[in-house]
Amino acid sequence: MAAEFRTPSFRGWKAVVLHRPHADRDNICRQLERLGIEVECVWPDLRKEHGEANVLVFDADMAHEGQFPWKADIQPMPMIALMGTEAPGRVEWAIRRGAGAHLNKPIGSSGIYGALVVAQRSFEARFAYENKIADLEQRLARRPQVVEAILTLMLQRNCDAHTAYRGLRDLAMAGRISIEDAADELNARPGGADDDRRKA
């Protein structure tokens, strides 16, 4: 739909640029400032509070593991790698460190806008996937409870597995909860699914 696409705007963002004093660093800063982004240059070591920046631009040639105060599996913000050497080890490290986009050196007067859009989009996508995977893993771990609830319903209602599953799903929908939560609730009832009915 027409209203969905918004021109990406980075106004008000804070960027940290991890790069030694150099013309490439100056060019990156100039490009970022044109986009309304506040820039802080850092070298050699990042501090913990830099994790709160909206984007990190880092030198993939000279930067190394020891400069980061957070572990590689924590990626607090979108990151852009500046690459001079294309040695596979360096590229691999940049990816592992969280680069969602890169720019080739020497840095000229263009490229950062596109890199920001790509890095932000891939960061958001990764964040969404990670949340979804965590959710699915959690639901997968509760499969035995779902099976238990279906078996209880089959016994109590004298029905097949398909009908019992539909019954469980109806309970979940009626309570606006997940199937797993509905199964837990059902399993917790002393008399199973028919507990309410029997009481009545």
Binding site: A2, A3, F5, T7, S9, Q31, R34, G108, S109, S110
Partner: protein, 403 residues
């Protein structure tokens, strides 16, 4: 005393699909260079070194290379399509040259080797929509030639319309130079939009405007008063070739011949002496004309034609030109410009001369915002005739490129 001669590249297409505006641009650069050389105000003279890519995008880089490597040009005034500009960028980087790009364009670029003196989106499509949406509605049909200008301007248009609660009833592209427009007319007839945004260029645009005028004569719904064609790049340069088909088209530009200022009257009088009483002067002419003047001022001030010194010294302060002072923004290397809105009148008349009647302007120039950093498309459009976000709809605008 012989003055130092400084070669200046002039890179426009005088044949091909957009030859009308290319020739106009070349004339603008030539006129300014002649004036500068004749003025006696400068301790140098410009040698105008022309190259003609004939409308072929791939020829621009080749010719720019020749201008810089063989002809010794450090500056090129040229390129009209964004496609051709992007082709030339690597050449400029290689030779550390400077391109003076004077056409309106879609923004999202700020290259160190380019000075942008044409309007970017906050100075073209945004003010055009601030005028058109309150006046005609927010259901639009979007058209473009199949390259970045049309794609990106239409994308911005789509966002502006969506944020206003409006919609895009159709979005179609045809190749540059294609004159097959019957399917576009059919779709427009069926969809009945509030207006049409035309980002076609050159001969495609002429074919469309002719066919659309015929549609309006068949069905009054499609007359300009009810369902106009609006444009970010129709100028006086194309009115003669369009004839009656241009009647009622609404366009935005940072220059119209009808701007009623002392500077413009004097300028037009000089240009008509030079080009004949019937000559149409347009933004396609004044863009390169002003660029040449800015270049001359900058060289005079820095004492050298070296682009680096000019980029360092030129921005931020107004520099005089025959059409008033111009400011270049340091951060983006784009000009501060005043967008005007004009409607074509007199194109269907045998007595009148086709011209743009001004229907909207601004009291002061707008700072360039090529990445739309400071503009919120979701702020909506002011419906009141002179609302805060809207243009001043009173006629009688002043040509003040800069205050």
């Amino acid at each position: 005393m012989t003055r130092q001669e400084i070669p200046v590249g002039v890179l426009f297409s005088s044949v091909g699909p957009y030859a009308e505006i290319g020739r106009e641009a070349r004339e603008g650069a030539r006129a300014a260079i002649d004036e500068i050389n004749a003025s006696g105000d400068f301790p140098f003279r410009f040698a105008c070194v022309e190259a003609d890519p004939q409308g072929e995008a791939d020829r621009y880089a080749v010719l720019a290379e020749r201008l810089m490597r063989e002809e010794g040009c450090r500056h090129i005034i040229g390129c009209q399509t964004s496609w051709s500009r992007k082709e030339v960028l690597p050449v400029l980087e290689r030779h550390q040259g400077l391109l003076w790009y004077t056409a309106p364009y879609e923004g999202f670029e700020s290259h160190d080797r380019v000075l942008y003196t044409g309007a970017c989106p906050n100075q073209n499509v945004v003010p055009l929509f601030q005028y058109a949406v309150p006046a005609f509605g927010n259901r639009a049909y979007l058209l473009g030639s199949n390259y970045i200008w049309g794609w990106e301007v239409n994308r911005i248009a789509r966002e502006l319309l969506g944020a206003d609660g409006g919609c895009v009833l159709g979005e179609r592209y045809i190749p540059i130079g294609d004159e097959q427009v019957a399917h576009l007319i059919e779709e427009i007839r069926e969809k009945r939009p509030d207006f049409i945004l035309n980002n076609l260029i050159g001969t495609s645009s002429y074919a469309f405007l002719r066919a659309y005028r015929a549609l309006g004569q068949e069905d009054p719904f499609f007359l300009p008063s009810r369902c106009p064609v609006i444009s970010c790049n129709l100028t006086e340069a194309e009115l003669p070739v369009l004839g009656a088909a241009a009647e009622g088209v609404i366009s935005t530009s940072t220059y119209f011949e009808t701007l009623d200022t002392a500077d413009n009257r004097a300028f037009l009088a000089r240009m008509r002496l030079l080009r004949g009483a019937d000559a149409q002067i347009s933004a396609m002419f004044t863009g390169p004309y002003l660029a040449a003047w800015l270049l001359a001022r900058a060289i005079a001030e820095t004492g050298a034609a070296e682009p680096q010194g000019i980029i360092a010294r030129l921005p931020d302060r107004p520099r005089p030109t025959p059409l008033g002072p111009v400011v270049i923004d340091r951060q983006t290397q784009h000009a501060h410009l005043t967008p005007h809105i004009g409607v074509v009148e007199g194109a269907a008349s045998v007595r009148d001369r086709a011209h743009f009647r001004l229907v909207g302007t601004r009291p002061a120039p707008l700072a360039p915002d090529p990445y739309l950093v400071d503009y919120d498309p979701h702020a909506g459009f002011a419906r009141a005739p002179s609302g805060a976000a809207g243009l001043d709809r009173e006629t009688g605008p002043q040509l003040r490129l800069v205050t």
